[in-house]
Symmetry: C2
Subunit: 297 residues, 2 copies
């Protein structure tokens, strides 16, 4: 383990999150939006959150020797996409959630029409962010492809999760993996790959970060499922026990709590292994992987 | 007037529409979507429609001497954005429309969750389309900027139209113009500009097409408002008289039918004038402008 970073090292999240927070606020305030739309966007985007995706972008960029400021627009873009997905997923027709990060969701705060439209706006703003980045045009195009692919996968995952339609010929645990590799994994993987692009990584290192992102992406969902059954609403800042209530398949529901914890450890190892060729510069990403896994211990 | 193209010349729409239709179907079918999501996307995208935005992209590209096949991805991208906006605008929380192009809207056909998610998907697919285009990376970046800006403006226009919040210091007709320059005009203008980029137009010609797009963009909405008061539901393929019923400000409501028709003629002239430097290659665009104006006569 790195001596510079430990699992208690809050700098892992706080430094990238602080950078992102400032850039997110600047992006929204600079967008020349009508007052109520700006307020809605600020409510849904600046309402806290771990900023995991921005952290993955920035730490991945730094892990390949890239400059932090080269990764900021991509970090903002990914967080805007993440926030749009929360706003739309919370809608009455989808998860019908009234609480998010301990506060009313946007459709409760500002009404359903605004929640639909503000969510839509965050998507186009995300792509505009990539165009505003200081990278060369070829890298910008790679970033757009990655963001578009990740967003499409996320929507596909949400469709599977909400409306079913999973391929019949898959085992239940394969179906569950298909849901979550799309719903959560794809965007986390995209975050790592976009960080690699911003750091001008070669194909080999991009592949390492891609595999790392794949592993932490799936791990994140298993951990999330575990937290849903083991923690309280107060602790989570959103409704707990909701998965079971909604009759959704989850990792603990399918594999049991202990086996799900074993899967987390396995994915953690997979993530750490993927980073091997990157040496000490990837220590923060290693620690982040460990931190994400330890949430459930 | 051009002798090659007349206002009756359906080739104005049918050729670009046919090219776009094939490319839209290929884009959806090639996207590796779950069956029900693909079906929803096909329902909302391939359900007919004039394909005005694709026609503007393709004819603008050709007007500056560009190759038709260079404009097809941008045409598809714009139509995907247009279709997403229809799907979301039709939702119960927004316009609550059950009929579109003479058929049930997507949320009626496939449910509200699917309509929200399929709409979201169409946005990310639109940006992916631009990345799949045969243009160089610099042009692709210009296309992404234009599409993102046009989409954001469209959402802002819809927010103004549905939720108000227009600047108090504007006259009613200025407010109405602000709504529609955003809601409809921005994307039509983006279509013309994107066509110019695909045709590798210089700044001067891009500016001509930009001004043309600005004029036909606003004209389109005035004509749409006029049709809403002068035609029947059967003729329109969607609910007529809805604007008045919803208490929306419209051009005929504000200016009267005759004055609105005069505005249409003025915008038509403005559009034609903007194309002057482009010579005969812009004849199809001239005819398209005339055709759009004549719908109300």
């Amino acid at each position: 383990m790195s001596t510079k970073h430990t699992m208690q090292d809050t700098d892992l999240f706080t430094r990238p999150a602080a950078i992102t927070e400032v850039a997110l606020a600047a992006a929204l305030d600079g967008a020349d939006l009508p007052e109520h739309l700006l307020e809605a966007a600020r409510w849904s985007v600046l309402g806290g959150g771990k900023r995991l995706r921005p952290a993955l972008v920035i730490l991945s960029c730094e892990a390949v020797g890239g400059r932090t400021d080269h990764a900021v627009h991509a970090a903002v873009a990914l967080e805007l996409i993440h926030c749009f997905s929360l706003v739309h997923d919370d809608l009455p027709a989808l998860d019908n959630d009234e609480l998010r990060r301990g506060r009313p969701t946007l459709h409760i705060k500002a009404g359903e029409p605004m929640a639909i439209l503000a969510g839509d706006l965050l998507i186009s703003m995300a792509f505009q962010q990539l165009m505003d980045s200081p990278m060369d045009v070829a890298t910008k195009c790679s970033l757009v492809s990655e963001l578009a692919g990740g967003t499409s996968s996320m929507v596909i995952g949400q469709v599977y999760d909400t409306l079913g339609g999973l391929p019949d010929d898959l085992e239940p645990h394969q179906q569950l993996q298909l849901v979550h590799r799309n719903k959560t994994g794809a965007l986390l993987r995209a975050a790592c790959r976009m960080g690699a692009f911003c750091g001008m990584a070669d194909a080999g290192w991009s592949q390492c970060l891609s595999e790392y992102g794949e592993a932490v992406g799936l791990m994140f969902q298993v951990v999330d499922d575990l937290l849903d059954v083991t923690q309280t609403t107060e602790h989570l800042g959103k409704a707990a026990g909701k998965d079971e209530e909604m009759g959704k398949i989850t990792f603990p529901g399918l594999l049991g709590i202990e086996e799900s914890r074993r899967v987390v450890m396995e994915l953690e190892q997979q993530a750490i292994r993927a980073l091997e060729p990157l040496g000490p510069a990837a220590d923060p990403l290693r620690d982040l992987g460990r931190f994400m896994a330890i949430r459930t211990k």
